[in-house]
């Protein structure tokens, strides 16, 4: 156990001592924030206003502050969702670096069990992701709290933290399988570039997934990361939507908030059906479990050279 903790600590030290790696891990989230300030917020706000205009006389019942808060929370879920993809992947590249620089020889020649070695890379990447996304969550909640009433109580915040933990662990489990096939840092770096560019779209951070065709929605939602973002959206934004519903006083029979949930994908469309939060949680945990088992098997098979 000491060896496992030692290797995990070493992987975490390597990640957190390299500021450049941290910045690049969060690059997609940073770009997302800039895009939000430039035009994404306007798009989100326009979408809400457009839905409100469909019900005459309701626009006056929902304040500008609430609409801004809605857009802010949608942004926060996007930032967290993309960070939960890029941070664990970047931390896992330590494994590829170790292979390329033959540092793994030094680890393989110690009494550490093969399962312990692979799990230590897994745990360190998941912990790094929980720490960084946890910090982003706290900063984000403080930032939206300063802007006005986010309708987030302690239970919802704790739930969000739980989703951040599950999201980080599940993304790490999936990427572990991917990373085991990379033998050079340049190849894994190229994949990271692609991943950074695609992640924002796959989780629906730039454009809600509901705007895509059924086939594209299904492809996006197959990835646990998309479903994690949707669950997070439910946890962080639902309170505000309930508050908006109360403000409308039932004049629309809940149709406005339903349309918002549909437009901003509060359920995951898979083929012709929908996954709601409990289904998504089961799906995420199942994928995570299968990937953890698969990574131990794959590493045990591939660790010996030739």
């Amino acid at each position: 156990m000491r060896g496992f903790i030692g290797l995990t600590k070493r992987n975490l030290l390597l990640f957190f001592k390299d500021r450049q790696t941290i910045v690049f891990s969060l690059l997609t989230s940073i770009i997302m924030l800039f895009l939000y300030l430039l035009f994404l917020k306007g798009t989100f706000v326009d979408a809400v206003n457009g839905a409100l205009k469909e019900y005459s006389g309701m626009a006056s019942l929902i304040g500008k502050e609430e609409i801004d808060m809605f857009a802010n929370l949608i942004l926060l879920t996007g930032i967290l969702g993309s960070a939960m993809i890029t941070v664990p992947y970047n931390c896992l590249t330590t494994l590829v670096k170790d292979r390329e620089n033959k540092v793994d020889y030094d680890i393989l020649a110690t009494p550490l069990k093969r399962g312990q070695i692979i799990l230590s890379y897994f745990v360190s990447a998941a912990v790094a992701s929980v720490i960084l996304t946890g910090i982003i969550l706290v900063i984000g909640l403080v930032a939206v709290g300063v802007q006005g009433n986010s309708c987030l109580d302690v239970i919802r915040i704790m739930k969000a933290l739980g989703i951040v933990i599950i999201g980080s662990v599940s993304a790490t489990a999936v990427f572990m399988i991917v990373i085991l096939f990379f033998k050079s840092v340049s190849a894994s770096g190229a994949f990271f570039g692609m991943l950074s560019a695609a992640s924002g779209f796959v989780i629906g951070a730039y454009i809600p997934i509901s705007q895509f065709s059924n086939a594209v929605q299904t492809v996006c939602n197959i990835f646990p990361a998309s479903q994690v973002t949707i669950v997070l959206r439910n946890v962080l934004v639902d309170g505000l939507l309930e508050h908006m519903d109360e403000s409308l006083g039932g004049v629309d029979q809940g149709m406005f908030t339903d349309s918002m949930r549909e437009l901003f994908s509060f359920k995951a469309r898979l083929f012709n059906g929908y996954f709601d939060v409990p289904h998504m949680m089961v799906y995420i945990c199942a994928v995570m479990f299968v990937c953890v088992i698969a990574q131990i098997f794959l590493y045990s098979v591939t660790y010996k050279k030739a």
Binding site: R2, G6, D18, Y105, T110
Partner: protein, 305 residues
């Protein structure tokens, strides 16, 4: 007792035979050297013995432990100084060594108990909190050797430990290795392509293209495969060359080099006595390990085969 026993060890990569049915033994406390060019199979053999690579065929025992069956026990008994540094550049010397010690299941107290004498022996106090990437080549090698000794191994594998080091750092590394041999009676398994480094070895194995071409003490290898050279400082002239009739000789700058094969060595004293009036300025030089390698492989180390 044998520290290492290797029988018919073979390693194949994608159809290429890197190591071909090699057999050798290393006694406990012995300084054993593996000599050969790059690509001869030295590092592959070390990596198999250290449980990093899987063997294709053959039998390996480290003390009483069988490779492939008791790998964990083997790992506890070996320390390795790799050809290229395997410590983390971004971490300090302290962080590197403490994390590596934990891989062997050592607790904090046990680590410090083990670390303190090593810190003194390898003069690590002044670089303890410096990042590994900021150290000089010699300092890095000192840390590498310390890392290999953290868990008090019985065998120390050194895979070309002085490659790329300046002469002063090489000397320093060899002083440490000598200390381990003499004071700690540690079994040392060295791979190198520097001839002078195997001079003091108890046993030398010469590996060429995956095969063992020689396995003996340096002195016996020299006796078997090289002769003695008589260097006679004199002018080049017919008269002098008549004296050397029947012997293999050559002239270089200001001296003749006469080669006495191992069989002819007995003639050397007689030859000198016979020509004592003529040969007044001379020296006798034993063949080097370089000559042994040349004789066995047809190449000097560093030449492409």
């Amino acid at each position: 007792m044998n520290a290492i026993t290797v029988k018919n060890l073979t390693k194949k990569y994608d159809g290429t035979i890197a190591v071909d049915q090699i057999s050798f033994e290393v006694k406990e406390g012995e300084f054993f050297a593996f000599l050969g060019e790059n690509g001869a199979g030295k590092s592959t053999t070390i990596n198999i013995l250290c449980t990093i690579f899987e063997k294709t065929a053959g039998e390996v025992r480290i003390f009483d432990y069988c490779l492939g069956e008791n790998d964990d026990a083997i790992r506890k008994n070996i320390g390795i100084v790799f050809q290229n540094s395997v410590l983390d550049g971004k971490l300090t010397v302290k962080e590197n060594l403490l994390t590596r010690a934990s891989y062997y299941g050592m607790g904090k107290e046990e680590i410090m108990e083990r670390m303190n004498p090593l810190m003194q022996s390898f003069e690590l106090e002044s670089i303890w909190n410096r990042k590994y990437e900021k150290l000089s080549g010699g300092q890095r090698r000192r840390v590498d050797i310390t890392r290999a000794l953290l868990h008090n191994p019985r065998i120390l594998f050194l895979d070309e430990p002085t490659t790329g080091l300046d002469p002063l750092s090489r000397k320093m590394v060899w002083e440490y290795i000598d200390y381990l041999r003499r004071e700690k009676r540690m079994t040392i398994f060295l791979t190198t392509h520097y001839m002078e480094e195997v001079r003091d070895a108890d046993r030398v194995v010469i590996l060429d293209k995956g095969h063992i071409v020689a396995n003996d003490t340096p002195a016996r290898l020299k006796n078997l495969y090289t002769g003695t050279k008589l260097i006679w400082y004199t002018d080049r002239c017919i008269d002098n060359e008549t004296v050397m009739n029947g012997f293999d000789f050559d002239y270089e700058v200001d001296h003749y080099i006469m080669k006495f094969g191992s069989v002819q060595e007995a003639d050397l004293i007689g030859f000198l006595y016979q020509n004592r009036d003529k040969i007044t300025d001379f020296e006798i030089v034993k063949g080097s390990m370089d000559d042994v390698f040349l004789d066995l492989t047809g190449r000097r180390l560093g030449e492409q085969g």
